[in-house]
């Protein structure tokens, strides 16, 4: 296990290095940020001064070396837009996005799993058909459309839900969360539901397919033959087995949800990182874009690792570390 983890960490470092190269040179190819920020009244002398101040007059390889040098000391540079260290900005907004993604994940599981299991157990009933049509709709409708329709219905027409921003937060010392206040949950409900739809649809489909497969396996038949109560057959024997693909897919999907919750965040003006990234790209705030993408790579690598470890816990047949253990 330890050896496996070390190997994965080394792989991750390699991926990170390649990413910094790609990202750094990538963002340097498109446009010059100085022309976007500087006032139109700023003349050539003024532009040159800004370019020199930001270090953009250096050859690109030297800029990269400086960047890597700073990165090694944990400094990812200062945002051109905000004048605040990029990492600070990301961590300031990450809790909001994590909270949204987490709420969406919980919703997807709590609603999706029972629906999927039900549809798997009674595949021909009209209830199952309803569930499957719902999952189809949730899959296919564009998120921004659903978001706007929800705002129109619940905020504008019915007036039940607030449409912008995050509600009251509670400071837990290390992080601020809106999960613990009523106002916070009120604000969270619509964006979290919108964000969860695709995951929910996926959970429904995976749970249904898994259930249909598992119910015909021998161990379920034996369990039933042994007189194990139906609830335990489903809850202990069947559920554990259908969870493996669900965990894999959700693990991957969760990373995507955090990294690219952009659409939902901008529709509901949720102060998360996704929205910040889009703004940063629009004005070529290079340090912020680079820092963010590196964080995302880091997150994906970590999530993959976690999913692998979770696997081995869910299914004892899976051993980490290449067969030796």
């Amino acid at each position: 296990m330890a050896e496996y983890i070390i190997r994965r960490v080394l792989q991750a470092l390699l991926v990170l290095t390649v990413m910094t190269l790609l990202v750094f040179f990538g963002v340097n190819v498109i446009g010059n940020p100085v022309y976007i920020f500087a006032s139109s009244e700023c003349d050539q002398a003024c532009l040159s001064a800004i370019i020199a101040d930001l270090g953009l007059d250096q050859p690109i390889w030297r800029q990269y070396l400086t960047f890597v040098g700073n990165l090694a000391q944990g400094d990812m540079g200062k945002s051109f837009t905000h004048g605040v260290p990029a990492l600070h900005l990301i961590f300031e907004r990450l809790p909001a996005t994590l909270e949204l993604a987490f709420a969406a994940l919980v919703l997807a599981l709590v609603v999706g799993l029972p629906m999927g299991i039900y549809a798997g157990l009674r595949p021909d009933g009209w209830g199952a058909k309803l569930v499957m049509s719902f999952s189809m709709v949730a899959f296919s409708l564009p998120v921004f459309w659903i978001g706007i329709i929800m705002i129109l219905t619940f905020s504008v027409q019915l007036g039940w839900m607030p449409s912008v921003g995050r509600g009251d937060t509670v400071d837990l010392g290390f992080v601020e969360t809106s999960l613990l206040t009523l106002d916070g949950l009120h604000h969270l409900a619509m964006p979290a539901f919108t964000l969860s739809l695709i995951m929910m649809a996926m959970v429904i489909r995976l749970a249904r397919a898994g259930m249909r497969e598992v119910m015909f396996t021998d161990y379920i038949k034996f369990a039933r033959a042994n007189g194990v109560p139906e609830r335990r057959v489903l809850g202990a024997h069947a559920l554990k087995n259908i969870l493996i693909p669900i965990v894999t897919v959700l693990g991957m999907e969760f990373g995507g949800v955090i990294a690219f919750a952009v659409v939902v965040e901008s529709i509901f003006s949720w102060p998360g990182v996704g929205k910040m990234l889009i703004d940063a790209i629009a004005v070529l705030d290079r340090p912020l874009i680079v820092a963010y993408l590196i964080c995302v790579v880091f997150m994906f690598v970590t999530l993959n690792l976690l999913v692998d470890i979770l696997y081995s816990l869910l299914d004892p047949r899976i051993r980490l570390g290449g067969g030796r253990a």
């Binding site: 022309y35 139109s40 837009t81 905000h82 706007i148 905020s155 921003g165 003006s269 703004d279």
Partner: protein, 535 residues
């Protein structure tokens, strides 16, 4: 039972009302303030928040004309010295007295440069090589290296910070957390939650008098539809940039009010004047020598071929002011008799014929698609209108982060200081923030000169000695009436020569719940002091 409950609730609310009678104004804005350091950037999204907290020596009225701010008066003592008399009895938010030392500190801070800030207004001090000296606690002298008329306009861009609070403060960071955010303005810093809100509270000791709102909250809502929804369901009281398609309905709805004023931002088409232009070919695809845009009749024909009213009504929801001027009405330099060109395709074709281009040619029109109101749709409309008079026009719209680099710096051939703008015809905008035309003429009509800063926004590289002479003279003429005349002459020459093709001034709109009254501003900023409650 239910009735009784309602009654009790009402009673509870009524008795509670006086205790909780906080007047809170929530403003839904399209772009969020990126920093509360007033010297970090001069983008209007930031400046409009700064202006509640910090003030300038010179303020701008709703038509962007200079009025007394922290300075009560200013006048030139001679050709190169201006005397500013400061307002007496002004207090910082923490109770300290405001003096000339703060002004000197502010200018020194800007002069030293705000490190890492690409959009800082610091360059305003370099214009005219300004120097500053304190004469006494309430007098400051500004000297320039030659006669320089727009000192007051430049100082209207520079917010004054408190020496005792901002000394040693880290750029941006210490202003975002409030430690250095001590101003003299009508509102005080309360909280700043990036991405979510900026909250300001009333300054009871403001020299400008009673402040109407106890609290002002700026909420960024980037998406147009979401911002409108937030207004409709009451999450915010007023929004800027309501979507133009919804303006007609908002105007008719008794629950909402719309306020409107032409902005200082001119949207125009800039022809390229190089001998050979890469994006202009004849109908068979061959390069054209000379470039047909160098003939003023061609440029006039292009202008006459544009149906500006149709763009206003069909694309802009009525929110544009067709123009042939370079500054909006009410600004110093506005020329009354310059009226927007009428739509006249016949005359356009006749002019093309006369110039020898009766068969037309091909051109690519470049522009941004995320910078100006409905920019991509305007580009498409113009392209269709031009194609109709025989000039086959292709549109290449791109995000602003790519557009502006290519527009200004051009292709790989260019070197720093010798930029070769790339486009043969491009749509851009120019905002006359200072409220007067001197730098608009110099920036857009004067011949490009990297050393003097002339023609800084002249990306077509138009060059006309008659305008140059007047523009340079205007920049050195202190007497306002004389300067106005010189500027108007320069503008008239430029517009009659079709140096560029003005389309319209954008029109600023705000939408608010009924019960509010707003005095709109040309410079696109939303100020709580200009929003009032009405019964």
């Amino acid at each position: 039972m239910r009735q009784w409950m309602t009654g009790a609730l009402c009673a509870a609310m009524m008795t509670a009302a006086p205790v909780w009678a906080q007047e809170v104004l929530t403003i839904g804005v399209r772009s969020e303030a990126s920093s509360l350091d007033p010297h970090w950037t001069q983008l209007s999204a930031d400046v409009q928040v700064h202006e509640h907290i910090f003030e300038k020596l010179v303020a701008l009225d709703s038509a962007s004309q200079p009025i007394p701010g922290l300075a009560v008066s200013w006048q030139p003592l001679d050709d190169t010295t201006w005397e500013f008399k400061l307002r007496e009895g002004v207090q910082w938010h923490d109770g300290e007295a405001f003096t000339a030392d703060d002004v000197i500190f502010t200018f020194d801070r800007l002069k030293a440069g705000i490190s890492g800030a690409p959009a800082s207004p610091a360059f305003q001090l370099d214009k005219g090589s300004k120097q500053w000296t304190k004469i006494d606690d309430l007098t400051v002298h500004i000297t320039t290296d030659g006669p320089y008329p727009t000192v007051a306009e430049d100082l209207a861009m520079l917010p004054i910070v408190a020496e005792h609070a901002a000394t040693g403060a880290t750029e941006s960071v210490d202003f975002n957390n409030g430690t250095a955010t001590i101003g003299t303005g009508p509102f005080k810093y309360d909280t700043f939650n990036p991405g979510d809100s900026v909250t300001l509270v009333k300054n009871d000791n403001w020299w400008g008098g009673e402040v109407e709102w106890d609290q002002v909250v700026f909420r960024p809502v980037t998406q147009d539809a979401s911002r409108l929804a937030a207004l409709l369901n009451g999450d915010v009281d007023i929004i800027d940039y309501p979507p133009t398609v919804d303006l007609p309905q908002l105007r008719e709805d008794p629950d909402f009010t719309v306020s409107t004023i032409p902005s200082d931002r001119l949207i125009y088409l800039m022809p390229g004047y190089k001998h050979v232009e890469p994006f202009i070919t004849d109908n068979d695809g061959n390069v054209m020598v000379p470039n047909p845009l160098r003939d003023w009749r061609v440029r006039k024909a292009l202008s006459l071929a544009i149906h500006r009213e149709a763009i206003r009504d069909r694309i802009m929801g009525g929110a544009s002011l067709p123009a042939k001027n370079i500054v909006p009405p009410g600004f110093f330099g506005y020329v009354e008799e310059l009226e927007a060109d009428p739509y006249d395709p016949e005359q356009a074709q006749a002019l093309l014929e006369q110039a020898g281009y009766g068969d037309g040619f091909r051109i690519t029109l470049h522009g941004p698609n995320d910078r100006y109101i409905n920019d991509a749709r305007i580009l498409e409309a113009v392209a269709q209108m031009w194609s109709r008079v025989g000039i086959t026009t292709e549109v290449d719209a791109m995000p602003r982060n790519i557009f502006f680099s290519r527009l200004i710096r051009g292709d790989e051939l260019s070197m720093p200081g010798f930029d070769v703008p790339e486009f043969s015809m491009s749509m851009t905008g120019w905002g006359t923030v200072a409220g007067e035309a001197t730098y608009t003429v110099s920036g857009t009509l004067e011949t490009y000169n990297a050393a003097t800063g002339g023609g800084n926004g002249n990306f077509g590289r138009y060059s006309n000695p008659e305008i140059d002479a007047r523009s340079v003279l205007a920049k050195r003429t202190i007497d306002p009436e004389e300067r106005l005349q010189i500027l108007q002459e320069a503008i008239r020459i430029g517009m009659e020569d079709y140096a560029y093709i003005p389309l319209h001034f954008q029109v600023n709109n705000w939408a608010m719940r009924s019960g509010l009254e707003h005095e709109p501003r040309t410079n696109e900023r939303t100020l709580a002091t200009e929003i009032h409650r009405v019964e």
